[in-house]
Amino acid sequence: MKHTLAVEAATLGYDDRVVVQDMTLEIPQGRITTIVGANACGKSTLLRAMARLLRPSAGRVLLDGTPIDDLPSREVATILGLLPQTPISPEGIAVADLVGRGRYPHQGWFRRWTAEDDAAVEEALRTTDTLDLADRPVDELSGGQRQRVWIAMALAQQTDVLLLDEPTTFLDVAHQVEVLDLLTDLNRRRGTTVVMVLHDLNLAARYADHLVAIRAGHLYAQGTPAEVVTELMVEDVFGMTSRVITDPVSSTPLVLPVGRHHSGTATTGRAADDERAAPEAPLPADALR
């Protein structure tokens, strides 16, 4: 069964501070939706509201047409999973046990652990390529492994909708791509609806089916990356001059920032070639400390 998630005329904020105003948004079913915007534009706040971590001060978030706050929390947790921005791993916990916590919503007050739970955990570990880490303490893992384990926990929850708040932070570029590929696999194989906030506009444009651009708490534009990512959008949403070309790898839009330095005339591809031909002397590693 497919589930729907929508935001209806929602105003979101903390105490008296309004962060998102009158937002209406429908998340396309079975697609990957990516939310982008400048720092503090309200994109994480919007995701938090969709995950019922924040109650709208006006308007509502609808899961299958019902206001999400009216649904029992545990029931929602079987439909909607979340990878929070900074989850905490208890000291000494084994990977499989942490991932096993994703089974909570499927267990009642008295229902014991079942073979079904083991199978779900194992599948989540296999999908994220962390099965060989199953009995290791989470504390001992690298950042990239740890992020995959947290994603595995969200997968073990076996929800139809998966929300992720910057799943690629703290990861190097190879691991960023790995995580996004993993989410794409999940979406293609199981039809999981994925909604994520991403910092990197180019990765967002590459991996999104549907791109949502937020500016100062308002919906600026939404649609396919090709429709949304334009030089004008980058100027308006990020306050930055840029060139947008076609990504030679993925044929999606690729944003090339135009800063005050190293931009040459910035009208042709030649400037970039010149840069590559005469790179600056690399700084010694010590100079960066």
Partner: protein, 349 residues
């Protein structure tokens, strides 16, 4: 090799590791229970007059043994049982606080909740001349009241561990000055009675103390056990907890009520036996090493700390010391070590 892996049913790899961990957890619990029973028997046998384990068992089973029936049945047994029950209450309450607030320092005896019970009891004794059951009720109620006050003061868009700890320590310091003031104004006889509420001791642990304590734990321990599942979600952070269908603030409040009740009931029975609530969780954590939930191991460690501390205070140190002095001597260095070691705010379980 690959073929054998493929033939295993789905989940077998995970199940094997999980079973190994739960076996280790059960082993820890069984060992703790056995050691606890041994220490219990020791405290019943040994004293100014030492009785054989057989005599002790006969007394426990209700037979009349000349001499032993009074010493063991009416003095040592209620004392030992109070020690076990109070230790369970402190151990459980402490580890619930520490886990829920994700900080070892968030123990009820560090953040002023035990001090709430003590201060109310001391004032009730020295100013209002209360005693007995009324006194216990006042102590429990004020422990809960102080916890509520700390919770309310640290509320800002939800409760955060560090803020609650700092506010708790400040409230604890204020309550300590209330205690000092009340003591300085009190008559010498009252001071004696009040001391029990300051150091914690099993000296007045007779059957009338055991019964209400056992009754309270009969309600609170199952509640804590049922709620402990929520601890497992809260440990992952508030957002992750809510995402798993365990709403953070609501669950924390329920856990807090049960944990405060446990600690206050324990304090009403034996005073704030120093650092038992604070030490039980970390010691249990060392023993269990991630193999399972800490609630029950911490309860057993708490009971052991109180029993061993009381035994040492009575028989091993030459002079007779109340149990709270012994556990205080054990706990204070650990607190110092914890503060010196941690570059942050104490570390979590």
């Amino acid at each position: 090799m690959t073929a054998t892996v493929l033939e295993r049913p789905a989940g077998a790899t995970v199940a094997a590791g999980r079973r190994a961990r739960s076996r280790r957890w059960r082993r820890v619990v069984v060992v703790l229970v056995v050691v606890l029973l041994a220490v219990l028997l020791l405290t019943l046998c040994v004293g100014e007059r030492t009785y054989s384990p057989l005599d002790v068992l006969r007394v426990v089973l209700g037979q009349d043994v000349p001499g032993a029936s009074f010493t063991v049945g009416d003095l040592r047994l209620p004392r030992a049982l109070t020690g076990v029950l109070v230790g369970v209450a402190f151990g459980m309450g402490g580890v619930m606080f520490q886990t829920m607030l994700r900080n070892v320092l968030a123990s009820p005896d560090v953040i002023g909740i035990s001090a709430g019970s003590s201060a109310a009891a001391v004032v009730a004794i020295t100013v209002f001349g209360l005693s007995g059951a009324t006194l216990s009720v006042v102590a429990v109620a004020s422990g809960i009241g102080v916890a509520g006050l700390i919770y309310a003061l640290s509320w800002r868009r939800g409760v955060h561990g560090t803020r609650l700890i700092l506010i708790g320590i400040a409230i604890g310091a204020m309550l300590d000055s209330v205690i000092s003031y009340a003591i300085s104004r009190a008559g010498i006889y009252d001071v004696n009675e009040a001391m029990r509420w300051l150091t914690g001791s099993l000296n007045s642990a007779f059957w009338p103390v055991v019964r209400p304590l056992a009754l309270a734990l009969l309600v609170l321990v199952p509640l804590a056990t049922i709620l402990s599942r929520r601890l497992g979600a809260l440990q992952l952070g508030d957002d992750a907890s809510t995402a798993l269908g365990v709403p953070a603030d609501r669950s924390r409040l329920a856990l807090l009520v049960v944990a405060v009740a446990l600690v206050s009931v324990g304090t009403a029975a034996a005073g704030p036996i120093a650092f038992v609530a604070f030490l039980a969780g970390p010691i249990a954590h060392r023993l269990v090493r991630g193999a399972g939930a800490l609630l029950w191991p911490a309860a057993l460690v708490g009971a052991l700390l109180v029993l061993v501390g009381d035994f040492a205070g009575q028989h091993l140190l030459g002079l007779r010391f109340p149990v709270g002095v012994v556990t205080g001597v054990l706990g204070a260095p650990y607190l110092l070590w914890l503060l010196a070691r941690s570059n942050r705010t104490g570390g979590s379980l």
